[in-house]
C-alpha cells in the first residue's frame, strides 16, 4: 500500500524495494515466466479480435449501466436476492455491517474481492467487532501480516516461502516445513473450521449478468464456493462496472481473464450464482443473499469520454505482470490498493489525488501494459492525461511550466539549445558531459550525458541535401530535438542511405520538438501548441512520406497528434494528412525504399539490437529493423530484447534509481551476446544506452540503425 507523503519519501520506499533481493529475483523470474505462459495460453486465439469484443461489450455496458442495473435487480429480486446500491465506500461498508447485525452474525468469511479492498471493508467490520477471516490463501497471508495486496491476482507475491513458513509456524505453534505445497495444506486445514461455522460469507463478483441476475466468480482454490455455500448469509460486493448485458459477454471475457492473469485457459472454478439458493441452516431452508453494487465515483467517470474506458478492466492484473517498473519495485510501490498500470489510474479516482500524485509519475510510458490489456485500455495514455489533470488542479511544477513556455516559442527553444552548446563548454569532456548543470546533476551518475553538437542538423542539411531530378518519391525529414541538436550524424547517415535511391529529401525548418516530453510532464497546452506548429511546418511541404529516425517521435506524431487535435476544426483534416505520412526510418528503408543485401557489403560485425518500446509496441514494427541489421552485419539476438531500457525521457530524471536498474539489466543482456555493437531506432534509447555503456566501460559502440546501414553501403 503506497502511503508516501512526497516524491522523496516515495523514492526512499522504492529504494528499499530495490534492495530487497528476494523481491528482485522473484519478480524477474515471474516477468520472464509469465510472458512465456501467456504466449502459450493465447496460441490458438485471435487475441486482437477477442480484446476488441471485450472492449465493445464493456463500452456498451458503461453507456447503458443504469438500464443494466435495473434489469439485473429485477432478475435477482425474482430469485430472492436483495440488491443494494452504495454511493461510496462508507455506505457500502455500513450496509454490510448492518446486514451482519440484522442477521446476528459473529464470524464472517471472505473470498477474494478487490472491491472490498477498495472500500477497506475488513477494517470497518473489525472495528464493528466482527471476526473477519480471508480465505484466499494469499489474502489470508497478508491479512495476518496486516498488509495490503501487492498484486490483484496474487496478493502475496512479494513474500517468500520462508516468510510464510514463519507466519504459519507461529499460528499453529510448531515449526513447519517451508515447502509451499505443505504450507498450502496448512491453510486448507486451518481454515476449514471457519468455513464450517461462519455465519456470513462475503464474496466479490467478476461479472454480474443482467439478463439472468447471476453473478460469476472465478477462483482457483475453491474458497469462493465454500464461502458462498456454507454460511447462512451471503453478501456479494461488486463495482457497478461489473455489469454485463448477457451471459455470453461474460463467457467471452472469461476467455481472456485467466489467460491474461496467469496463463491458465480457465480457473479451476467459475461459479455462477443466481439467487438465494438452498441452505439447510437458513430460514425456510434458503440462503439470505445480498448484492451490494458500489458506485464510489464510477458513474461520474463513466461520463468522462476519455476515462470511461477504464471500465473495460477485468482485473486480470496483467498490466502489472508486464510492467518493467512493477517488476522492479513490486505492488506496494506500484499502486495504493489497485496495482499496476490500472492501479495508478484507479488510485486517483477511488483513493484521491493525495495518494495518486506520486504514483502517476512512476510510468515510463513503455506501452507494455497497453499491448496486453484484456480490455484494450490505453493505459499509458490515460496515465499521461492524469498527470495533466493533476497539474491543472495543483498548478504546474516550475520546471514543467518553464519548459512548456519555452517550447511554445520554437526560436527561443532552439536558441537555448544552441546556447547550451556554449554553456556546457567548461564541463564538456569528449563526446560526454561529465556533469550536467542544475537539476540534472542529482543521482544521474549512472549514465553520462551527451553534449550538444557543434552544428545542429538544421544547419548542416543544406550542404548534404541530395540533388535529384526525377525523384521516385518525396520525403520530408522530421528530426526531433535530440537528433537535430545532439546527434545530427544519425540524420546524416539516413540521408546517405536514402540518397542512393533517387529520393527527393526536404527538411522543413519550422519543425520543433514533437511535444512528447511536455506531455509526459502533464503540460497539455504546450503539447497541443507544438503539435500545431509541427503540423503547420509540414503542411506546405510537398512530400509523400514524413520520415523520422526517432521511434518515440514517430509514435507520438502518428498516434497522439490526431487525438490531441481532433477537437480543433482547423486542424482536424490537416492532422489526418500529416499523421498518415509519418513513417519510422526502419519501416521506410525496408518497406518503401526496399533496400536489400545488394545495397551492402555485409560485415562480419556482431550487432545486438534494442527494440524501442514505441517502435515494437506502439508502431508494431518488429521484423524490419532486424532484417536490416542482418543485411549490413551479423544480427545477435539478446534476451528480453523488447523490454524497456529505462529511459522514458523525464522518467530517468525523476526516478534515477529505477532507470539505472533497468539500464543495467538491459546492458547485461546485450553484453551477454558478445557483440560490441548495439543499434536501436530511437535517439532517446541511444542516449541512455550509450551513456550507460560509457560508464560501464564495456567498449560497446552504440549507434542508430541508420548509421550501421550507412557505414556498410556498397
Amino acid at each position: 500500500m503506497h502511503n508516501a507523503e512526497n516524491l522523496k519519501e516515495y523514492r526512499e520506499d522504492m529504494q528499499e524495494a530495490l534492495d530487497n533481493e528476494f523481491l528482485r529475483k522473484s519478480m524477474d523470474a515471474f516477468a520472464v515466466g509469465y510472458r512465456e505462459n501467456r504466449a502459450k495460453a493465447f496460441a490458438d486465439i485471435n487475441e486482437t479480435e477477442l480484446i476488441k469484443k471485450i472492449a465493445d461489450c464493456k463500452d456498451y455496458a458503461v453507456k447503458n449501466n443504469a438500464a443494466l442495473l435495473q434489469q439485473f435487480t429485477e432478475e435477482a429480486e425474482k430469485r430472492g436476492v436483495k440488491v443494494h446500491l452504495a454511493k461510496d465506500a462508507e455506505e457500502a461498508n455500513a450496509l454490510i455491517a448492518k446486514i451482519a447485525k440484522d442477521n446476528d452474525v459473529k464470524k464472517i468469511i471472505k473470498s477474494k474481492s478487490m472491491t472490498s479492498e477498495e472500500t477497506l471493508l475488513n477494517h470497518y467490520l473489525e472495528d464493528e467487532k466482527f471476526n473477519v477471516i480471508e480465505t484466499d490463501l494469499g489474502e489470508w497471508i497478508i491479512q495476518m501480516r496486516h498488509e495490503g495486496p501487492s498484486h490483484m491476482v496474487m496478493p502475496a507475491i512479494h513474500l517468500s516461502r520462508y516468510q510464510v513458513q514463519d507466519l504459519f509456524s507461529e499460528r499453529v505453534g510448531e515449526k513447519l516445513d517451508s515447502d509451499p505445497v505443505k504450507l498450502t495444506k496448512v491453510a486448507r486445514r486451518e481454515l476449514r473450521r471457519d468455513f464450517a461455522d461462519a455465519d456470513m460469507g462475503i464474496s466479490g463478483a467478476n461479472f454480474c449478468v443482467a439478463e439472468n441476475g447471476h453473478i460469476g466468480i472465478a477462483t482457483n482454490e475453491g474458497n469462493a464456493r465454500l464461502t458462498t455455500t456454507a454460511p447462512r448469509v451471503h453478501v456479494a460486493i461488486a463495482g457497478i462496472d461489473k455489469l454485463v448485458p448477457k451471459l455470453t459477454d461474460a463467457l467471452t471475457a472469461l476467455k481472456a481473464l485467466p489467460r491474461n492473469a496467469t496463463g491458465q485457459a480457465l480457473t479451476s472454478y467459475v461459479t455462477w450464482i443466481g439467487g438465494a439458493n438452498e441452505c439447510a441452516i437458513g430460514e425456510d431452508n434458503k440462503k439470505e443473499m445480498h448484492i451490494i453494487f458500489l458506485d464510489n465515483g464510477r458513474s461520474k467517470i463513466a461520463e468522462d469520454e476519455m476515462f470511461s474506458q477504464i471500465f473495460r478492466c477485468v482485473r486480470c492484473g496483467a498490466c502489472a505482470n508486464v510492467c518493467p517498473v512493477y517488476r522492479l519495485v513490486g505492488g506496494h510501490q506500484m499502486g495504493h490498493i489497485y496495482i499496476g498500470a490500472i492501479g495508478l489510474i484507479l488510485t486517483y479516482f477511488y483513493h484521491g489525488e493525495e495518494k495518486a500524485k506520486n504514483l502517476v509519475h512512476n510510468c515510463i510510458n513503455c506501452g507494455a501494459c497497453k499491448s496486453i490489456c484484456a480490455g484494450g485500455i490505453d493505459l499509458p495514455g490515460l496515465i499521461k492525461e492524469l498527470r495533466a489533470r493533476l497539474n491543472e488542479d495543483n498548478g504546474m511544477p516550475m520546471e514543467t511550466n518553464l519548459l512548456g513556455k519555452v517550447l511554445k516559442n520554437r526560436k527561443l527553444f532552439h536558441s537555448l539549445l544552441r546556447f547550451g552548446k556554449w554553456a556546457q563548454t567548461p564541463v564538456k569532456k569528449g563526446p560526454y558531459l561529465r556533469h550536467l548543470p542544475l537539476m540534472f546533476m542529482k543521482d544521474q551518475g549512472f549514465r553520462s550525458f551527451p553534449s550538444i553538437a557543434d552544428k545542429p542538423f538544421r544547419d548542416r542539411f543544406k550542404e548534404i541535401k541530395p540533388m535529384v531530378h526525377n525523384p521516385s518519391h518525396r520525403v520530408a525529414l522530421f528530426s526531433g530535438c535530440v537528433q537535430d541538436f545532439v546527434y545530427p550524424e544519425q540524420m546524416e547517415a539516413a540521408v546517405k542511405v536514402m540518397a542512393r535511391h533517387n529520393v527527393a529529401i526536404d527538411f522543413p525548418m519550422d519543425q520543433s520538438c514533437c511535444g512528447l516530453p511536455v506531455q509526459m510532464m502533464g503540460e497539455k497546452q504546450a503539447t497541443i501548441d507544438v503539435a500545431k506548429q509541427n503540423v503547420d511546418a509540414f503542411e506546405g511541404t510537398n512530400c509523400d512520406y514524413i520520415v523520422t529516425l526517432c521511434a518515440s517521435c514517430a509514435s507520438h506524431l502518428k498516434e497522439a497528434y490526431a487525438e490531441l487535435l481532433e477537437g480543433d476544426r482547423k486542424y482536424k483534416e490537416k492532422v489526418k494528412r500529416f499523421s498518415a505520412k509519418i513513417i519510422d526510418f526502419s519501416s521506410y528503408a525496408h518497406d518503401v525504399l526496399g533496400v536489400s543485401t545488394e545495397d551492402f557489403n555485409k560485415s562480419s560485425e556482431k550487432v545486438a539490437y534494442h527494440a524501442s518500446c514505441h517502435l515494437c509496441r506502439e508502431l508494431k514494427v518488429v521484423d524490419q529493423p532486424r532484417n536490416l541489421i542482418d543485411m549490413a552485419g551479423e544480427y545477435a539476438p539478446s534476451a528480453e530484447e523488447d523490454v524497456c531500457c529505462g529511459f522514458g525521457g523525464t522518467f530517468t530524471v525523476k526516478f534515477p534509481e529505477l532507470s539505472s536498474t533497468l539500464l543495467d539489466k538491459k546492458l547485461t543482456n546485450i553484453e551477454a551476446t558478445g557483440a560490441k555493437r548495439l543499434v536501436a531506432d530511437c535517439p532517446g534509447c541511444l542516449l541512455h544506452l550509450r551513456g550507460g555503456s560509457n560508464v560501464r566501460e564495456n567498449g560497446m559502440k552504440v549507434t542508430h540503425i541508420a548509421e550501421l546501414l550507412a557505414e556498410n553501403l556498397k
Binding site: R192, A265, S268, Y269
Partner: protein
C-alpha cells in the same frame, strides 16, 4: 464426436484431471467404489475434539452421491457395500471436516478448457463436490461442447431459476506462495472424469 472426446481428454489431463473411458453407469459405479476403497484415508480438516492428535483421519470410507436416481443410487450402494465403503446422499453439513469422494453426473463438458459443468442447486451436492478429497464426475460424451459459448443455450437453461452452476476445471489449486503450483487448496485434491459413451 470421438474427436471432441479425445480433445477433451487431452485438455482435461493438462489441468491434472484423471480421465477414464467407461461404457456404462455400472462401470462408473464400480470404478468409484473401487477407487474409494483403495484410496488413502481422508484427512479430517476439523479436529474431532480440541486435543485430538493431528493429523486425524476418517475412520471409515465415505462417498456422497446426493442426486442420483433411486436405481442409480441402489446400484452404487451395492458396489460400495461390497467394498466396505459407506455411501450417503445427505447430511453433508455434519461432514465439513471432509469425506473421501463425491459422486456426480455432470451436465456438460467444454473441450477448449477441459472443464465440466455441474448444476449444483442442491446444497448436499454442492458440499459433496467441495469437501470431498476426490470428485468423481460422469460426463456423457454427448454433452461435450466445443467451448462455453457453444453451450450458451444449455447454460442459460441451467441458470433459468434460482441456481448455482459450477464450471470445474481440474482439481482445486493455488500458486499464492512463490507462484509454486499446489494442488488441493480448499477443494478436492483430485478430479476424476468418467467419459460415458452414450
Amino acid at each position: 464426436m470421438s474427436d471432441l472426446k479425445e480433445l477433451f481428454r487431452e485438455k482435461a489431463e493438462l489441468v491434472a484431471a484423471k480421465v477414464t473411458d467407461i461404457k456404462s453407469m455400472d462401470e462408473a459405479f464400480a470404478y468409484a467404489a473401487k477407487y474409494v476403497a483403495e484410496k488413502n484415508p481422508c484427512e479430517l480438516l476439523i479436529p474431532s475434539s480440541p486435543d485430538a492428535p493431528q493429523p486425524e483421519f476418517l475412520e471409515e470410507k465415505i462417498m456422497a452421491a446426493p442426486e442420483l436416481s433411486d436405481d442409480q443410487y441402489a446400484a452404487l450402494a451395492k458396489e460400495c457395500e461390497a467394498k466396505g465403503v459407506k455411501l450417503i446422499k445427505s447430511g453433508m453439513r455434519d461432514l465439513m471436516a471432509g469425506i473421501d469422494a463425491g459422486f456426480t453426473i455432470c451436465d456438460a463438458g467444454f473441450v477448449e478448457t477441459g472443464s465440466i459443468v455441474q448444476q449444483s442447486n442442491g446444497e448436499e451436492l454442492r458440499l459433496a463436490t467441495m469437501v470431498s478429497e476426490a470428485h468423481i464426475a460422469v460426463l456423457p460424451v454427448s454433452k461435450i461442447f466445443e467451448d462455453s459459448i457453444a453451450a450458451e443455450k444449455l447454460l442459460l437453461e441451467l441458470m433459468s431459476g434460482v441456481a448455482y452452476t459450477a464450471v470445474i476445471t481440474g482439481p482445486s489449486r493455488t500458486a499464492d506462495i512463490e507462484r509454486t503450483l499446489a494442488i488441493g487448496a480448499h477443494g478436492p485434491l483430485e478430479l476424476h472424469i468418467l467419459l460415458l459413451e452414450d
